[in-house]
């Protein structure tokens, strides 16, 4: 049953998490963007903040109202919290004859994240599939994922860069959350999505939401869906992309692309990472680390003496064909959840949707794929 939570009660929710030993992370304004950091109290939330996004441009403004979630997203949300940008995997220590190896697992604490979007949940499902459901589950990701409590907030203010409707991943959070809120003028409607959510909700003791509020919430989300301007040419572009590997557009976009890798690192589903050793000066110990990598990086496709993807056009093509194409082979869906981050945070203002249209348009079977 949908409940109603007046805005001041949000602090109570945070207090419940604190009592239960959770670290709370939520959106905050920092350095001109919405970033997810440890939340001290509701006062840290971006009250009255609006975002305006275009390819290569992100600006915040202050509306002066009481809304806390009236923006679309920031450069990151869940990914860095679970798939660490850089972390040690294990440590080798020299011995008389060889070395010993010791796992370095992250210290984790139950984590509650407030203000997760539908696209973030979709991306999380994909990362879960990659890191947890394969033949070799990743213990580092698993450790962080274990006690995660997710409070989704349905998106009511998508940015011009958003296209989650087109990918089918938003703006309405359908699954994967413990609680889902929709922000109204004076408070939130609350739905629960799990046993854990139910327990927390019970502690909050909220009244059922009036039908008018439920309708207002639904309308806000419907309206959010209706105002999205961007789309992808289809849900499955695998064939369209792989039959256009020599399209002139690859050269065109390569002339603009900086090969800086921002798109892949803000993408909530990209999972590439590099491993390497960092030995101590005296050689007595060596820490084996991993960190986010990207198919735009120098060494991503390097094999001794040979660059498999020497030029920017090869790298951009890898990004797009993987994200929107071969992802289907690997994980049964597209790797894009329509969050628009790769557009907004591309310093060269490259718009993935526009490139996809330019390359796939004219591939006849698009309609059928949808």
């Amino acid at each position: 049953m949908t409940r109603y939570m007046p805005r001041p009660a949000l602090q109570e929710l945070l207090d419940i998490f604190a009592r239960r030993g959770y670290r709370c992370v939520g959106p905050q304004e920092r350095d001109g963007a919405i970033t997810y950091d440890t939340l001290g109290s509701v006062a840290d939330l971006p009250k009255g903040v609006r975002d305006s996004q275009q390819p290569g441009q992100y600006r915040l403004s202050h509306g002066g109202d009481a809304r806390l979630f009236a923006w679309a997203n920031g450069p990151q949300a869940l990914k860095p919290l679970l798939f660490a940008p850089a972390e040690p995997l294990w440590r080798a220590a020299k011995t008389d004859r060889g070395f010993t190896v010791e796992t370095v697992l992250p210290e984790t604490r139950p984590l509650a994240v407030i203000g997760v979007r539908a696209c973030d949940l979709a991306a999380l499902a994909i990362q879960d599939q990659i890191f947890l459901r394969g033949e070799h589950p990743d213990p580092y990701y698993a450790a962080r994922r274990e006690s995660l409590f997710l409070v989704a907030v349905n998106c009511t203010h998508p940015a011009a860069t958003c296209f989650c409707v087109s990918t089918g991943d938003g703006p309405h959070a359908i699954a994967g959350f413990d609680l889902a809120l929709t922000e109204l003028e004076d408070g939130f409607t609350v739905e629960m999505g799990s046993r854990a959510g139910e327990q927390v909700l019970a502690e909050l003791d909220l009244p059922p939401a009036a039908a008018s509020r439920i309708e207002a919430a639904n309308a806000a989300v419907r309206q959010a869906a209706a105002c999205q301007v961007r789309t992808l040419p289809g849900r499955n572009l695998r064939d369209a992309l792989f039959s256009n590997l020599h399209h002139a557009r690859w050269d065109d976009v390569a002339a603009r692309c900086l090969s800086c890798a921002n798109c892949t690192l803000v993408c909530p589903t990209c999972f590439c990472h590099a491993e390497g050793d960092e030995p101590a000066l005296d050689g007595g110990e060596s820490v084996h680390q991993r960190q986010w990598d990207s198919c735009f990086s120098e060494r991503h496709a390097y094999i001794h003496g040979f660059q498999v993807r020497p030029e920017i056009r090869h790298r951009y093509r890898q990004w797009l064909t993987h994200k929107l194409g071969s992802w289907h082979d690997q994980f049964g869906r597209s790797g894009c959840v329509g969050c628009g981050r790769c557009l907004a945070w591309c310093p060269a203002q490259i718009d993935l949707t526009e490139e996809a249209w330019a390359i796939c348009a004219g591939s006849g079977d698009l309609e059928e794929n949808n």
Binding site: F99, A142, F242, H273, E275, E311
Partner: protein, 278 residues
């Protein structure tokens, strides 16, 4: 706690063989008895070999899967880690984790003729497959082993080839792009030899490993000689860090070389083979 797929296990170098100027074989033994008994692999699989303080590299397993004592890796010194590995001596230790990947289709090959085509160091991953067949010689048809090198002095495993050539119903054909006077084999491309190769067109399986250009040409030539594309297998190579399908480096279109390969059925990779950038 879950097992950690990233942890290497210590292995000691029991013997080191210099195969050619830059190629050497390390014969390894796990330090922990438990690993020695637990570890088993299938021909064509590979390990991640860790050099202390430097990093890990994927290296195919050369030894006989039934040899429980030693694990052999033949390595060419080409860069940071492999150069470092080249400096190790017997008694030194490396880290091993694995085995990884899908190996050669030796079950599927039973009862058929087998053509093994390798180029350069591509011969290494094929060795254990050949040994496997030779141990079960009666279960397979004709065995043709074709190996090509650029220069004749780069040929390694000469003694092995000689021994294999003496096995019944087994043919060894060697090719070098340029050979010296003592070169017993063909001077020219590996693919030239295909015209001379004899096998049962309808019941043959080909396994290939080597430079991609060579494999593409060879696959086409074999297909032309009537070998079914489903019966042609290639072992592929891409940059690799984790070997368990998570790091993303070894992608080849939709395939991960580390877990979907390194050995692929030709039709599964044919579409992207030879296209620059994949």
């Amino acid at each position: 706690m879950q097992i950690n797929p990233y942890l290497p296990h210590e292995a000691e170098i029991v013997e080191r063989i210099q195969e050619s100027d830059a190629v050497f074989t390390l014969r390894l033994r796990f330090v922990e008895a438990e690993m020695r008994s637990r570890y088993s692999f299938w021909p064509g699989q590979f390990n991640m070999v860790y050099l202390y303080g430097a990093g890990e590299v994927p290296i195919s397993i050369v030894s006989d899967p039934e040899d429980e004592r030693l694990l052999d890796h033949t390595i060419r010194a080409v860069g940071r880690v492999t150069d470092g590995l080249a400096r190790l001596k017997p008694g030194d230790r490396v880290g091993i984790r694995g085995p990884y990947g899908r190996g050669w289709p030796l079950k599927e090959a039973a009862g058929r003729d087998v053509v093994v085509v390798t180029g350069g160091l591509g011969c290494a991953p094929a060795v254990s497959a050949v040994n496997y067949i030779i141990k079960r010689r009666a279960e397979y048809g004709r065995l043709v082993i074709i190996q090509g090198v650029k220069k004749s002095k780069e040929l390694i495993y000469r003694a092995r080839y000689d021994a294999w050539a003496r096995v019944p119903n087994t043919h060894v054909m060697l090719a070098a792009d340029s050979g010296d006077v003592f070169w017993p084999g063909h001077v020219g491309l590996v693919t030239d030899l295909f015209e001379r190769v004899e096998f049962d067109q309808g019941n043959v399986l080909a396994m290939m490993c080597g430079p991609e250009g060579m494999m593409v040409t060879a696959a086409k030539a074999l297909a032309q000689r009537g070998v079914a594309e489903e019966g042609i297998f290639l072992s592929m190579e891409r940059n690799m860090h984790c070997a368990v399908g998570l790091c993303g480096h070894c992608q080849f279109g939709g395939q991960f070389i580390c877990k979907d390969g390194p050995v692929f059925r030709y039709p599964d990779v044919k579409g992207l083979l030879g296209i620059r950038g994949f």
